[in-house]
Amino acid sequence: MNLLEVKNLKVHFPVKHGLFSRVKAHVKAVDDVSFTIRPGETLGLVGESGCGKTTLGRAIVKLVEPTAGSILFEGEDIARLSGSELRVRRRKFQMIFQDPYGSLNPRMTVGQIIGEAIDIHHLAESTSARQKRIVELLKAVGLDPIHAQRYPHEFSGGQRQRIGIARALAVEPQLIVCDEPVSALDVSVQAQIINLLQDLQQQRGIAYLFIAHDLAVVEHISQRVMVMYLGKVVELAEAKAIISAPKHPYTQALISAVPVVDPDSKRKRIVLPGDVPSPMHPPAGCPFHPRCPMAQLPRCEAESPALREVMPGHWAACHFAK
């Protein structure tokens, strides 16, 4: 069974203007997105800024309220839950953030930060059991037990991200949404955090939704990869398949734009014209058609392509994907 099943999820933000804050328009940050995550699997989510990947991640852990659609976690729809009903289930899914400093309270010690999660969910029967768990968690993420007494500002960026991971692990979640967890870190430290996330997955069977804009990192850590553009999923496939044989022209351009270290690779760079359009006024038809090198009018302008299975397990939202 799937751990998570997202069906036709929509997150629309109202844009308010003028007197009495009338709603003028909607930003369709996430527009009709469906996917699944299996237990212990890593699903990578890539896209450029403004494509809705962070909003999607936050909606799944219910940090933003979905407008429509369902989020089935172990078969149970959490999209409409709130209050204490939601809080009990929150233990199963956690999130780690891009800026490890901004997501840690500067006035709490590391022990308090991790302990707070344990307290909220009543996971320790005694003070000594609580202390023991904090020490275990710190060790699990490669920190020293002595660090429990220190404050976030005393740590480097990589260590702070480890604290964020320890806090997420404290409630023994089955799914962690990782929102650009290594983008803010130095290159030499990124690999440490990626390895740590992979080790923890192997030991504990946690599933990840791994959100990032770095395709190489996403390919490395994920079993399957999902590509978003203007609030919609344009391609979803096995990581190896999507990188070696992308079906959607946007994915093709995205992959070709990644600078590669190997000087002998004979790769042709597809440079897309223009910018990502504003999600407030997405183009009609296929949202990618104004920048698409192989768009065919009038079809691409008129019809919005559905996400369809072009090969077993390989989904693409393009009229002409084969």
């Binding site: 480097s156 290159v187 030499s188 804009h213 395709l215 490395h220 734009a257 990644v258 600078p259």
Partner: protein, 320 residues
Amino acid sequence: MPLLEIKNLKLDFIAGDRNLRAVDDVSITINAGETVCLVGESGCGKSVTALSIARLVPRPPANYVGGEILLNGRDVLKMTKSELQAIRGGMVSYIFQDPSASLNPVFRVGSQIKESLKLHRPEKATDAEVIRLLKLVGIPAPESRIKDYPHQMSGGMQQRVMIAMALASEPKLLVADEPTTALDVTIQAQILDLLLDLKKRLGMSILLITHNLGIVGDMADRVAVMYAGQVVELAPALELLRRPLHPYTKALMNSVPKLSGNMQRLQAIPGNVPSLGNFPSGCRFYPRCPSAQPECAKTMPQLVEVEPKRWVRCLYAKPL
């Protein structure tokens, strides 16, 4: 004569009663028409080195302790205020990481570009020249765009405006400090293509600062890798990418995943980048170096030419 010759540059930051060495004995030359990449992680001194070329690091807290920066044979460190004024944005132009922070939000982009023209080429300070520059950097419909304020443009467009402004003075050297780090990959590809094209057409030199080794292969003729205030490896770009000689360069290349790389596990570099003032004695990389020897803790290696054109700061670097 090279266009730019930085010789044994040493720069301290004064923090209270401590002198923190941020740039230590850095030597880099850039020839006319050449692109040199400066690669390193945060805090390695790459930006401070680049800013020093037009002496843009405020003194204090900075203090130049030694070395010289020869621009067309003249030492920038000895120039007077008015001489500096002439080279800043004149012979040397800069573009930075975050274009929205570099543009003034209350002036139209056209008048901001014109300001640069007024200072360096007053006879050309016209709308027509501004439009020509915007066209040069690939901004569509420049006639209407000169009336835009920065916030009306996307990040990629703003960076193009910054480049237009930098080109206004027809610089000999363009210093680009992480010009694409804040941009999305598809926009990054556009900006890098533009820089390559402009270099070809205008024949200027580029000093490109980046932490992304992938960009090096696409852009650079030569690369300098910096670590903890020092250049640890200096080599022609393709040779360095094919066969890195310094353990730090090797480790850096192995720690980033590659597309279709089929790597089971990344080879992480243990520990953290040492912070300013906490550099280890001896070789600065030895606490994190996979091939460190006891001698590395005691002796600071010098940058030596181990093969023709290949300079490495490691006691155990071996030529082929």
